[in-house]
């Protein structure tokens, strides 16, 4: 299959927006059931067009109008912003200071470059199957906290298209959260602190908060495979020196002596972990260096700026990544561990699939409506499973809304 060429985008995008982009469920998502008047109309979209032309404060009267516009201008990239006090495309007519963002999904952006200090296989924009596990761990840790601790129900995890993941939390109440509350959430979810000049970035003390304990339990499931085997962090004296720098001095020396006598990272880790567990069992001065190491190497690193602002724009699901050509597809949490970012369809591969499918002898039925044809179109491509995940997500919210309406009418007694 031909690799993705950015130069081909102007040809491919029109096909994408006519035949592949899931306009239907997309509009149902952002309409939020029409419960709040004008919710869709007050939403900001921003588009990146060819030659890096960037336009903000786009808004549309309906999902159909959005669809027409996308098919007309074929943006390279779509960002979703906040729901504003007035229609964003009329913001210039509003009195100064009165045009304000009102609501938006709570979003998280986890980027692989933030882990460069603990990755040995790749750096900056590169990713490989070995370090992708970090994203898997990040999704698991954060999602657990979002559901169990914060009680959030409607979360959409999306592959960013190159080197990270995004999360969109769409619960009604959460969309109204203030910047302070959003920032507080990120702080609650932050354990790795410090920049290049900080050697030890995670410091735990007794008693350990349940959030930390539960996060460690998640990380533990992946740690051996990822860190000890894949990254081999205790594989050589140079690499284990970095790890031992995070251990208290008195224990460090003992381990320095022990490590050369073991044959691989897995064994050496056992020694270290054993030591730590013994300090905790004794009840004297409990040491959590093993947890701290696991967290420093694996715990998710969030960008607070993305989550804090209500008006902050974030790349839309099903947007194309202009550099890799990959579609920002939703992640299926059931099969998260098997997700392979390199198997995510690119716009090139999808269009190719359409061509192949089209030439399979199927006659185009001229009387067929456009949406129907499109529904069949993407189904014939590898985009299908991802759209299915997205539809399930939207259906989840719709059924929750129905349930809420029923509950309310029960209480009020009107049927």
């Amino acid at each position: 299959m031909a690799p993705f060429e950015p130069a081909a985008l102007p040809e491919l995008l029109p096909v994408f927006y006519r035949r592949l982009f899931p306009h239907g469920p997309y509009g149902r998502w952002l309409g939020y059931g029409g419960v709040v008047k004008n919710y869709f109309q007050l939403r900001e979209f921003s588009f990146t067009l060819r030659d890096d032309v960037y336009v903000r404060f786009q808004s549309f009267g309906s999902p159909q109008e959005l669809e027409r516009e996308l098919q007309k201008i074929n943006p390279y990239k779509i960002d979703i912003g906040a729901v504003y006090s007035h229609r964003p495309n009329q913001h210039n007519t509003v009195r100064l200071g009165a045009f304000q963002p009102q609501e938006k999904e709570l979003v998280f952006d986890i980027d692989m470059t933030d882990y460069d200090d603990v990755r040995t296989c790749c750096s900056s924009a590169d990713i490989c199957s070995k370090c992708w596990t970090l994203m898997t761990i990040a999704v698991r840790v954060i999602d657990r906290a979002l559901t169990e601790d914060l009680g959030m129900r409607h979360r959409l995890w999306v592959y960013s298209g190159r080197r990270g993941v995004h999360c969109w939390v769409c619960d009604d109440a959460v969309r109204k959260w203030s910047p302070a509350l959003r920032a507080a959430t990120v702080e609650y979810l932050t354990l790795v602190k410090g920049g290049a000049d900080m050697v030890k970035k995670v410091n735990l003390s007794y008693p350990v908060h349940p959030f930390i304990r539960r996060s460690v339990a998640v990380v533990e499931k992946y740690f051996e495979e990822y860190a000890l085997v894949g990254q081999d962090i205790l594989g050589s004296p140079e690499s284990w020196a970095k790890v031992l720098a995070l251990v208290p001095e008195d224990i460090r020396e003992a381990l320095q002596g022990e490590f050369p006598r073991r044959k691989d990272s897995v064994q050496r880790w056992e020694v270290l972990r054993g030591r730590m567990e013994r300090t905790r069992g004794r009840g004297a001065a409990p040491c959590y260096a093993d947890w701290e190491i696991m967290l420093q190497f694996c715990f998710p690193r969030l960008d607070i700026n993305v989550s804090k602002g209500v008006g902050h724009l974030l790349k839309s699901p099903f947007s194309v990544h202009p550099k890799t050509g990959r579609i920002s597809v939703p992640l299926d949490l059931q099969t998260l561990d098997q997700f392979d970012p390199f198997a995510v369809p690119t716009i090139t591969s999808l269009c190719h699939e359409l061509d192949t499918a089209g030439s399979d002898g199927e006659q185009e039925d001229v009387g067929e409506t456009e949406p129907k044809r499109r529904a069949r179109d993407y189904k014939r491509t590898s985009l299908a499973p991802y759209v299915r995940v997205f539809e399930q997500f939207v259906e989840g919210m719709e059924s929750a809304r129905r349930g809420e309406r029923l509950r309310r009418s029960d209480i009020q007694g009107d049927f």
Binding site: S85, G97, A98, Q100, Q102, E148, D149, L150, G151, M152, W177, S178, A180, L181, A183, A184, T185, E187, Y188, P207, V208, H209, P210, F211, I212, R213
Partner: protein, 578 residues
């Protein structure tokens, strides 16, 4: 600008406004729809003020969003009914409140003014105490309680018939809101003091009263059942710092929404499950306080945004303006000890009993035989306040100025006139009062070549330090003073200066006025008696007449003054300033 969607004015203000009637309608509401700048339908947005023709003030509560009209009428009607029914306690069931509902009754202008000033006094005491004492200590609490009692605000949580105090508390808060919403600095100050006041009052409640109050303000968080608590005991213990397992068992926990417990949530100092924070009883006051701060901060911002320029009435706006800049204390305009100071004493008095600002002005005058206008006003009025008669003042200034570049004739024509003016003997005969600390600190900052102002406020800290060193203030004292200056507590810095120069531990009073500094200093140095007058040869014949200034003065009218009331400043310009 009316807050109701319909655009109709509140009924009691519907009578047509005649220009002759001293009628003001100051509207504090929200222009436009309920979605204005983050406001939501149903928010309480402000209240409108009607100044009645006979010096009465009444409020009309106003709300945003549809249905507010009905809400408002019924709430007002209900309140009126309650008052009539004599059950006043229903109006203010608790000794403290969140000030969510504006007052709805009429009060006299006199009460309006006195309530506002009393609350201002209270908040200033709150500020001073907050700097001088740790808030949880007994001395802080006792002093604050005394002040509350003195000013007739609610001071005891349990007091049954506290209606008058609670009403005063309620009304005065809303008046000060109008005055203090108008700039970022004022809002910050007001918010800080109101929060400290609230924190104190809340801490005085018994558990039972606290529970009732929380229910009243709809902050009654769901208590965690014993069963659930047992189930979660270990988690609660691990999440909540400072709580061992037995303590967890005996303390009550509450399920609080994350938005209400942001700080505890953010720093992971509570157990969080299913979107709720499990907060122990001992942290509830933090939550309540945050809630109060959020509400008040939002209310102030909304009030500021929608406060229109108040039209025409000259009674209200000046009061509101000056409240935020006011000095509330004796004005030192009429002195009992007039004439008790002789000119020869001034040099030594300036070192012993003058506050730093006046000491600095005196020295500058002696050194350069001149002071510019700002300095002459500040120092001249101060001297009047400590008891210098008009003749003494004329002699004092003339002697000094003649040693400078000014000849006697020019002095008599210009400077003498303005000195007499400031004693109320010329022009519109206003008896100008000596400047308070507030006025000196906040208005007319000095420029190059000026020596007036407040040294703690206007001097470069390094220069201030050198000056204090030259006055032989001990280094530790200088450090303390500079700390206070850094914290912008200028009057407290001056108080510290007083303590250090008089070698006392506690100044014993709250400094607001340079003349107060002088009086207190003299009292201290003379063992509680009135200032002694040293024998002097200067012609001062006012000894016997202590109560008021003598009237047999030879006022030499200047020939240049032909118009009736020339303002002082205008005249000064005539005598070319340097």
């Amino acid at each position: 600008m009316w807050a109701r969607q319909s655009g109709a004015p509140p009924p009691h203000c519907r009578r047509p406004m005649a220009a002759r009637e001293a009628r003001l309608i100051a509207e504090v509401g929200v222009a436009g729809g309920a979605r204005e700048a983050g406001a939501r339908a149903g928010d309480r947005l402000g209240f409108s003020l009607c100044l009645g023709g006979r010096g009465s003030v009444s409020w009309a509560g106003a709300g945003g969003g549809s249905g507010a009209a009905q809400m408002e009428f019924s709430s007002r009607a209900r309140q009126k009914h309650l008052r009539l029914a004599g059950d006043r306690r229903e109006l203010y069931p608790h000794s403290l409140q969140f000030y969510l509902e504006p007052p709805t009754e009429s009060i006299s202008l006199v009460e309006f003014e006195s309530f506002a000033i009393d609350r201002l006094r209270l908040l200033k005491v709150v500020e001073n105490l907050g700097v001088s004492y740790v808030r949880s200590t007994d001395s802080y609490k006792t002093k604050l309680e005394n002040e509350l009692r003195k000013l007739k605000f609610p001071y005891r949580a349990l007091a049954e018939d506290d209606y008058e105090a609670r009403r005063k508390d309620h009304i005065s808060h809303f008046i000060l809101r109008l005055a203090y919403c108008q700039s970022e600095d004022l809002r910050r100050w007001f918010l800080q003091q109101e929060m400290d006041l609230f924190r104190y009052r809340f801490s005085q409640l018994t558990d039972g009263l606290m529970q009732k109050f929380l229910e009243h303000v709809n902050l009654s968080f769901e208590a965690v059942s014993e069963d659930l608590k047992t189930e979660l005991a270990n988690e609660l213990c691990a999440s909540t710092p400072g709580l061992s397992l037995p303590k967890v068992k005996e303390q009550m926990f509450y399920k609080v929404g994350l938005a209400d417990a942001v700080d505890l949530f953010r720093t992971r100092r509570v157990f969080v499950k299913d979107g709720f924070a499990y907060v122990p009883f001992k942290e509830i006051d933090v939550i309540v306080l945050n809630n109060y701060r959020t509400k008040l901060s939002k209310a102030l911002a909304l009030t500021a945004r929608s406060l229109p320029s108040i039209q025409s009435d000259e009674r209200l706006q000046p009061l509101l303006n000056h409240l935020s800049h006011s000095y509330v204390g004796p004005d030192y305009s009429v002195q009992k000890n007039t004439g008790k100071i002789s000119l020869e004493q001034i040099d030594s008095l300036s070192v012993k009993s003058f506050p730093l600002c006046m000491r600095q002005l005196h020295k500058a005058l002696r050194d350069s035989h001149h002071l510019r206008h700002g300095g002459r006003m500040q120092y001249g009025l101060f001297l009047k306040g400590i008891g210098l008669t008009l003749e003494q003042a004329l002699e004092f200034w003339k002697k000094e100025f003649i040693r400078g570049k000014v000849d006697a004739d020019k002095f008599d024509k210009g400077y003498a006139y303005s000195i007499r003016h400031s004693y109320g003997k010329e022009g519109k005969r206003t008896d100008y009062t000596p400047y308070s600390c507030m006025k000196i600190i906040m208005s007319n900052p000095p420029s190059q070549g000026d020596y007036h102002g407040c040294p703690f406020r206007h001097s470069d800290p390094e220069l201030l330090k050198q000056k204090l060193q030259s006055y032989k203030i001990p280094p530790s004292g200088i450090t303390q003073i500079l700390e206070l200056v850094k914290g912008m507590h200028y009057q407290l810095a001056c108080q510290k200066y007083f303590e250090l120069t008089h070698e006392v531990d506690d100044i014993g009073f709250s400094l607001n006025h340079p003349n107060q500094y002088f009086t207190e200093s003299q009292r201290l140095l003379n063992g509680g008696r009135e200032p002694k007058k040293e024998l002097s040869t200067s012609g001062n014949s006012q000894q016997k007449n202590n109560s008021q200034e003598s009237m047999n003065l030879n006022s030499t009218p200047t020939s240049s003054n032909t118009t009736a009331d020339t303002e002082l400043e205008g005249l000064e310009a005539y005598f070319t300033e340097d």
